[in-house]
């Protein structure tokens, strides 16, 4: 296999900045939950695209891709990586509408799911595999992430009830010079397949294995690339909460400044988009230098843990 690489990443942060208190009113959170989310989880605000539909989030993300016109003709596939499988009206087809609106109707398009919030990293890996069998060395895959949130999501995602609507577009190519994928690891713990379980022994067991399980996965991914944790310049996490990442950093003996946690309080957890939104933020803050190794990590309910190691 040739090396999968990210040719470009664009992230869309909606204009509407919603405080945790405002979100709590909409989502029906109790005062106690609100305190817990702010104090322990480090949540503060999220971005919501009020009035926007799913297709609008995708169009906005595509619009953030630098040099889209230069890439357009090379985009052969488009994948919408989803946390929750499509649940709109059958006729609505937001992915195809978004592609038509952005002049990308020629791309073969489909949605990918069942790794929940880690479906985005799966999509990057699969994009590389698609390109390996495509035959055109210049072909690209557009990986789209980001979803609308609704009150019922709170019932599906008890660990992070306040979700954001930021979205991202990522162009995946082969053998590019920038952001090469060195390793990808994914692990599903099938005993946690009931995604709405919020209490009881299963929920407790998941909570207990969450940090050690993620730590193991990160260690294995780094080792698979022939590196050590010391080689990591940055970890781009999913923005589920601050406390779990802080504990994970302690367990891995990783300095906290190697974790990009800024967006937890700024955008909240945005389904599959977090690693890409965080990548854009890291570039804005000039946190990645050529040759730096960084790791994207996500955990999806169900329960799938995924990590991807890249070299900038």
């Amino acid at each position: 296999m040739s090396a999968t690489s990210l040719a470009a990443v664009g992230s869309f942060l909606p204009d509407t900045d919603v405080t945790l208190e405002q979100a709590a009113t909409v989502l029906g959170l109790t005062d106690q939950e609100l305190k817990r989310y702010r104090r322990f989880f480090g949540l503060d605000r999220v971005r919501w695209a009020t009035g926007a539909r799913q297709e609008d989030l995708l169009v906005a993300a595509i619009g953030q891709l630098p040099d889209l016109d230069a890439y357009r003709g090379r985009i052969r596939y488009a994948i919408h990586a989803r946390t929750i499988e499509p649940t709109g009206a059958y006729s609505s087809q937001p992915l195809h509408t978004a592609l038509a609106r952005t002049g990308l109707g020629h791309a073969q398009a489909f949605a990918l799911s069942q790794h929940a919030c880690s479906s985005g990293l799966l999509a990057v890996d699969l994009a590389g595999r698609l390109l390996d069998t495509d035959g055109d060395p210049d072909a690209l895959v557009l990986v789209l992430t980001g979803e609308k949130t609704y009150p019922h999501v709170a019932r599906f995602m008890p660990a992070a009830m306040v979700m954001g609507e930021s979205s991202a577009a990522c162009l995946v190519g082969r053998d590019g010079e920038r952001d090469r994928v060195l390793a990808y690891t994914t692990r599903t713990y099938g005993q946690f397949n009931a995604v709405t379980v919020r209490s009881g022994p299963q929920a407790a067991a998941f909570e207990q294995m969450y940090i050690p399980g993620l730590a193991d996965l990160i260690r294995d991914t780094v080792a698979q690339a022939g590196l050590t944790l010391d080689d990591l310049r940055l970890v781009l996490p999913h923005n589920v909460n601050r406390i779990s990442w802080t504990r994970l950093a302690r367990l891995l003996d990783l300095p906290l400044d190697r974790l990009m946690l800024d967006n937890i309080a700024r955008t909240g957890h945005c389904f599959c988009a977090d690693p890409f939104v965080n990548y854009s933020r890291a570039r804005e803050l000039d946190l990645l230098r050529p040759g730096d190794h960084y790791l994207m990590a996500s955990v999806g309910l169900g329960a799938t843990f995924s990590a991807m190691l890249l070299r900038h």
């Binding site: 499988e85 799966l122 609704y150 599903t188 713990y189 099938g190 397949n193």
Partner: protein
């Protein structure tokens, strides 16, 4: 190259021993509000309660109990959004299979799933790849594109690909932006492998009328038309029937489906060995 080992259609009757799909109507009422589609959150659901998890597990048990990869393809939603299909299968299957789902390409979603299956196979992700295409009939809203569906049963079609499969896939092609005007020439090109073969068969999905296929083939090959009562499995169950039929000589079988609303025309061509008494690739 993908090599087909088995293909089989599994109908599922109402499973009334299972609880109804709790919460589904509420979820859809929220989601459809933005589309202006009415859905009553308190409506009693009518459906057969066969989730993608249950159907996929059943298909795996029948066709391949130890797959390396399970790829679930579906055009519409699941009736159980509270169970991770990946987790459910991972817990029940041996080893550590990669499980994922492909959707949102309407009637041609199965071809998108096969495209992904080919990429996984050709890049070494697995030697036993099980593709499960699923249609379930629990809907909480009315949609003109859902009229005429079989609401009495749910359906799955399993396609198993292994390195020693006896039926090689000689072509898999997905064309986008095929409108009604360009369909005749695109379909003629898609059917060419069947038309030019000594013993060719075209298996046509419900998006193609007998007039479409007659024009494309000039009446030179046998054409089997799929039922029109399912979203994404019908062409594959028709393919399963075709491959199960006895044949004394090698056949070139081309499955083709057209998704008119999205403009996709997709083709799968197989070289099927003779099977004098029973189908070579049923299971």
């Amino acid at each position: 190259m993908l090599r087909l080992t088995a293909v089989r259609h599994f109908p599922f009757d109402l499973d009334d021993a299972r609880p109804s799909c709790h919460g589904l109507a509420e979820v859809f009422a929220e989601r459809l509000a933005g589309d202006g589609v009415p859905a009553d959150p308190a409506a009693a659901l009518v459906g057969n309660r066969n989730s993608f998890s249950l159907m996929s597990a059943h298909v795996a048990a029948q066709l391949c109990p130890d797959p390396d990869v399970v790829l679930v393809g579906h055009a519409a939603h699941d009736c159980d959004l509270s169970t991770s299909v990946a987790g459910y299968l991972q817990q029940r299957l041996p080893g550590d299979p990669l499980v994922l789902a492909v959707s949102e390409q309407g009637a041609t979603t199965g071809f998108a799933a096969l495209t992904m299956a080919r990429a996984l196979h050709d890049t070494g992700a697995g030697r036993r790849i099980l593709v499960v295409l699923a249609d379930q009939a629990t809907f909480t809203y009315d949609d003109p594109r859902l009229s005429g569906l079989d609401r009495r049963r749910d359906h799955a079609v399993g396609l198993l690909f292994t390195d020693d499969g006896g039926t090689p896939v000689t072509e898999l092609r997905v064309l986008a932006q095929v409108d009604r005007q360009s369909l005749p020439s695109a379909l003629a090109a898609a059917a060419k492998e069947a038309v030019s073969a000594p013993h060719g068969v075209l298996v046509a999905g419900a998006g193609l009328s007998p007039a479409d296929t007659a024009a494309a083939t000039g009446g030179q090959v046998a054409v089997r038309h799929a039922a029109a009562d399912r979203l994404t499995t019908a062409v594959w169950s028709a393919l399963a029937d075709e491959l199960a039929a006895p044949a004394t000589c090698e056949r070139t079988v081309v499955a083709v489906e057209y998704e008119p609303d999205l403009g996709y025309l997709s083709t799968l061509a197989l070289t099927v060995p003779p099977a004098p008494t029973s189908g070579a690739v049923r299971d």
